[in-house]
């Protein structure tokens, strides 16, 4: 590599890293507890445990959960029902009205049922009253630094800089190593040289993991605006036929259980995990049950397919195919979290996260040490010049 080319890539690596380092440190540190979020949430969960029943015990009808929820909170609207993949729970989300829900979602609260017995296991308070949980705070800092949608876009920019830093780091790795072997750490030289070698060695070994986590982090940050754009264009065009219709009243709604069965029959082999009730436009449509399902195979289990079931007639109006970039996003999403391979994988993810922290901190140290070294060199040169002047 020519020395000018090397200098350009080195400049790109230095400045793309420096601009994002502090934010990446925040992301790496807040990411550590998020790897174990399921275990931490379960540890502090004060809900009643689900009944110990055989694994093949079928779930109760959705209509029963809807009726029980309406009896407990008359006058409120049901926003959605969600089935947990890992626990036999049906979680019903309610709000005083769709308008309140769409104003900020902090008015929403939920009821957790045992999906097989119908027993209420836990009730939440609205977020506006209960405040945010510790894990919620950590997640918000990790995702958007608590700045909201602009924060998510900012973090997407930082993730893009991180990827540039990784690629430029890989480009200059060869010239920096010169004739030395892979993994050579010069402990007999200064601390700066030792840390430079450690930085290079750990960086090149974990490069693929870091690019994977950075790229999927970037995709996750862009997911919301992309989904909103898709809803505003493709989904909105599907709803043109319903222009002028009113949202069905509670008494006009067809059975949610039959809506679920209709959607399931249209997509055999898929597992329904959520049903959004008609009324809103931010997470569903005013006229349909929006039924979300995912596949049952390892690859398709991360791919979600929504279906629209007419809430008045109970007919299937559409099975929506998401655009390729949203499908790719769904499949790649788990690669960011490291929570899809059991506890050993989570422990490995923590160790890889710690190596990323070492790379970031050592990068900062190398930059400061180099600046200090340059300043010392200039200072001693000036001293030498002065000495020469004095001798003269």
């Amino acid at each position: 590599m020519k020395s000018t080319t090397f200098r350009k890539w080195s400049w790109v690596h230095t400045w793309s890293s420096l601009l994002c380092t502090i934010f990446l440190l925040v992301v790496c540190v807040t990411g550590l507890p998020l790897i174990f979020k399921d275990e931490i949430v379960a540890l502090f969960d004060d809900g009643i445990p689900a009944s110990d029943l055989p694994a093949d015990t079928p779930n109760l009808s959705l209509d029963g959960f809807v009726l029980a929820s309406r009896n407990m909170y008359p006058g409120q609207v049901i926003i959605s029902i969600y089935f947990d993949d890992d626990a036999p729970w049906a979680v019903v989300t309610l709000a005083p009205s769709w308008k309140d829900f769409e104003a900020g979602r902090r008015a929403a609260h939920w009821l957790r049922f045992d999906a097989r017995t119908g027993n209420v296991l836990k009730q939440s308070q609205p977020a506006a009253e209960a405040g945010m949980s510790a894990m919620g705070i950590v997640r918000e800092v990790h995702r958007s630094l608590f700045i909201g949608p602009q924060g998510e876009l900012f973090m997407a920019g930082m993730a893009a800089l991180f990827i540039i830093a990784l690629v430029s780091g890989a480009v200059i790795y060869g010239p920096v190593m010169g004739k030395r072997r892979f993994g050579d750490v010069r402990r007999y030289r200064s601390a700066r040289i030792t840390w430079l070698d450690l930085h290079n060695m750990i960086g090149i070994i974990t490069l693929v993991w870091a690019i994977g986590v950075g790229a999927t982090g970037l995709m996750n940050d862009l997911a919301k605006p992309l989904l909103a754009a898709w809803q505003a264009t493709d989904v909105a065009s599907m709803l043109v036929a319903y222009k002028g219709e009113t949202t069905p009243a509670g008494t006009e709604l067809t059975s949610p259980q039959s809506a679920l069965e209709t959607a399931q029959a249209a997509r055999p082999g898929m597992i329904v995990y959520s049903i959004v009730f008609p009324g809103g436009s931010s997470i569903g449509t005013p006229f349909h049950y929006l039924v979300w399902a995912h596949g049952s195979e390892p690859l398709t289990s991360h791919l979600v397919i929504p279906a629209l079931v007419n809430a008045r007639t109970g007919q299937l109006d559409a099975v929506i195919t998401m655009p390729w970039f949203l499908q790719a996003l769904q499949i790649a999403r788990p690669l960011h979290f490291g929570d899809y391979g059991g506890m050993p994988m989570k422990v490995i993810w923590v160790l890889l996260d710690l190596t990323a922290i070492i790379i970031l901190v050592s990068g900062l140290y190398l930059w400061f040490a180099r600046r200090a070294g340059t300043a010392r060199a200039v200072y001693s040169r000036t001293d030498a010049d002065s000495a020469v002047t004095v001798v003269r």
Binding site: G174, R181, F182, V185, M201, W209, L335, G341, I348
Partner: protein
Amino acid sequence: MNVIRKKIRLWRGPVVCGSSIAFGLLAALLGQGYIWHGLAWAALALPLLAIVIFAWPWKRYVRG
């Protein structure tokens, strides 16, 4: 020939570690059961093991 040999010597390790990580991530994502997950854990642990070996503070080093 010598240049190619040097490049192989320098890049062999990173390519093995990168491939191991890529395999581990995909095996855990797409594989089912303990065999695939076990392979994924081993593949992801390999680069960490390499870091420990190369960064081991009491490792004997050869000058030059």
